[in-house]
């Protein structure tokens, strides 16, 4: 219970710190992001009401208001999801824009991470068990290369060969043009078809982290006495590998879940941009290339908060997985 309480407290403090950092960042930057954002809004022909102006200023910095008033306004706006208006999508609020895009990324990143975790961990178990042999070297060298692939580069190459040259997969978007998203089976199939390449790109480039983590844990675990004992008892090697070694080697790998998620989320920005996938990564890609500061700032917050929540959930799950955490508390 103490463990959970500590985690909850830490979660809340980190949440506050992340939100505050998001407040400080644009105010530290040279130039005036506010003026740039308001100017862009005006030139895009978006009528700026006083409320809109206030929302943008609360987010990026108001030149004539005290910093404490700004901070209070900012916190209030965050709580009510008012992130101002971005000129890229003038007909909806930033919150609506992000709300539409978020499910796509959650689905893509979630599926990809689970897939990479399962495949990478299994490969890591295999390499660790056969350490020093041919199987180990091929897995390690392969993972080293795939892990060094810049996600956007692999994305471009897959796009070129599999979509453009051979036409196996659609070239861009999250679903076929002219279709409105719904929950019908045909739409889900269509969306799946569009997600294969971005998902594959992200999975291949993040696989290596799981492989190496698991391989190293395996090798460390294999040196333990209970593994030697199990072997001496004449248990089948697969039983020893999976039930004795891998089971215990898995735990440290679960804790690196949060860090790995960061890599996937980071990679998703450029990959979604390349495939014009309708997720938040693509939004950030658009926001940055258009210097759309309000959208950019709100997206950084969304990225950070999603990471925080994901890590928090993993921490809580860890209590179920590792009895030691429960007993020490």
């Amino acid at each position: 219970m103490r463990y959970i309480l500590r985690k909850v407290t830490l979660f809340i403090i980190t949440l506050w710190a992340a939100i505050t950092l998001n407040f400080i960042l644009p105010r530290l930057m040279p130039g005036s992001p506010v003026d740039a954002a308001l100017g862009k809004l005006a030139s895009a022909g978006v009528p700026i009401t006083n409320a809109e102006k206030a929302a943008v200023e609360a987010q990026l910095g108001a030149p004539h208001t005290s910093i404490f008033v700004q901070y209070a306004d900012y916190l209030r706006n965050i709580a009510t999801l008012r992130f101002g208006t971005s000129f890229s999508f003038p007909n909806q609020t930033v919150a609506e824009t992000i709300g539409k895009a978020l499910p796509w990324t959650v689905a893509l990143v979630g599926t990809t991470t689970v897939f990479a975790f399962v495949v990478g961990t299994l490969l890591g178990v295999y390499a660790g068990w056969h350490r020093g042999k041919f199987g180990d070297s091929s897995v390690t060298v392969g993972a080293t290369f795939f892990g060094a692939f810049p996600p956007f580069w692999l994305g471009l190459l897959l796009l070129y060969w599999l979509s453009f040259k051979y036409g196996w997969f659609p070239i861009k978007g999250g679903y076929s043009p002219g279709v409105t998203p719904n929950w019908s089976l045909s739409f889900l199939g269509d969306a799946l078809d569009h997600s294969v390449l971005p998902g594959l790109t992200l999975a291949i480039t993040t696989l290596s982290g799981w492989v190496f983590g698991m391989r190293n844990n395996m090798i460390n675990t294999l040196g333990e006495d209970y593994v030697t004992f199990a072997e001496a008892n004449g248990l089948r090697s697969r039983t020893v590998a999976l039930l004795y070694a891998a089971r215990n080697a898995l735990l440290p790998n679960v804790t690196s879940f949060g860090l790995m998620l960061g890599a996937v989320v980071g990679g998703s920005v450029l990959v979604e941009g390349i495939y014009s996938y309708p997720g938040v990564g693509n939004l950030l890609y658009l926001a940055v290339t258009n210097h759309d500061y309000p959208l950019m700032q709100a997206l950084l917050l969304v990225f950070t908060l999603s990471m925080l929540v994901a890590i928090f959930v993993v921490d809580l799950l860890y209590v179920r997985l590792d009895p030691r955490v429960r007993s020490t508390s």
Partner: protein, 323 residues
């Protein structure tokens, strides 16, 4: 991406108190007359390189890195054309004069590739070094000092780990619009020190209860001296590993930022070749070499760092050592 998961046993570093000669590179030669005349740091690097050379993976990494470094140094001699001169017919595929084709502005892609190694190396090494400096400072202090100092520094480290690095880098670079390589170095260093700091902190925590640290405390040495002169030398391999991991991340980050157009498009680097390729729809015009070659170069540079890191890992953690 490298994740440092194995914390090596203390005193196992390259420059640790245990004699590195013992685990020997090929030959493991005895000190010679000229050898002791070489200045200390150089001798240390030489010894480290020789030890690494004995590890197969690290040797492969050193060879790849060596080739890239040579290409960067001797770029004017190797590159057949000027990287910036727009003297060729644009949008050409590979040919005898332009091995990798030409850009939309009529520049030779192969020459750009050779010159581009300079930026990637500079950014990778500088950002890696800067990030490691921050990581070592924060990791050592927070590992050595218990109580509020550690709490605060650990909290900052964990916060930096939670914020996804690439989006943060992208946003910082978008605000700064410095359009210089050094902006990118600073942005990358600022966002990628946290992993190293955490690893170094946990290693410091295990070292600080050792006898030699206790005796240093009793002999009245000051905190910074103990942390940097007594504890740090025992973590050389860990510091080297964090440096290489940070450099790997920096190479990727630099390419990503340049690819987004957040770098200086007029400098020649692997990232800007990819940016130009994307802007000129190189893939649609069939010039896939313009995308493939610089990306492969990035992969090779990153792989070389990771391979060298394997060597360091294997040296410092006996269980990971190859038989």
């Amino acid at each position: 991406m490298t994740v440092i998961t194995s914390v090596p046993p203390p005193e196992g570093g390259l420059g640790g108190k245990a004699s590195p000669q013992a685990r020997g590179g090929p030959g493991g030669s005895s000190p010679q007359g000229w050898y002791s005349a070489v200045p200390g740091p150089l001798r240390f690097i030489g010894r480290a390189l020789r030890t690494l050379w004995g590890n197969g993976k690290a040797r492969a990494g050193l060879i790849i890195l060596g080739i890239i470094v040579l290409a960067a140094i001797f770029a004017p001699l190797i590159a057949p054309h000027s990287p910036t001169a727009t003297t060729f017919a644009p949008y050409k595929g590979p040919s005898a004069t332009n091995w990798l084709g030409t850009t939309g502005n009529g520049q030779d892609v192969f020459s750009q590739l050779i010159y581009g190694s300079r930026i990637s190396l500079i950014v990778g090494l500088c950002a890696g070094a800067l990030a490691t400096l921050v990581a070592v400072t924060i990791g050592l202090i927070s590992g050595y000092r218990q109580g509020p100092v550690d709490e605060v520094l650990s909290f900052v480290t964990n916060l930096a780990l939670v914020i996804p690095a690439l989006p943060l880098m992208i946003i910082l670079a978008a605000y700064l619009q410095g359009h210089s390589v050094w902006t990118i170095v600073l942005v990358v260093a600022f966002t990628s020190w946290a992993t190293g700091a955490r690893v170094i902190r946990s290693q410091t925590k295990t070292l600080r209860t050792r006898e030699f640290v206790t005796s240093a405390v009793f002999s009245g040495e000051r905190l910074f001296r103990i942390a940097f002169r007594d504890i740090l030398p025992n973590m050389t391999s860990l510091v080297a590993a964090s440096f290489l991991a940070a450099a790997t991340a920096a190479v990727l980050a630099e390419a990503s930022l340049e690819f987004l157009g957040l770098g200086n498009p007029s400098t020649v680097s692997w990232g800007t070749i990819l940016y130009a390729a994307q802007q000129q729809n190189a893939l649609l015009t069939g010039q896939w070499m313009m995308v493939f070659a610089p990306g492969l170069a990035i992969v090779l540079l990153m792989v070389s760092f990771v391979l060298i890191n394997f060597g360091i890992d294997a040296l410092s953690n006996p269980r990971l050592r190859e038989k």
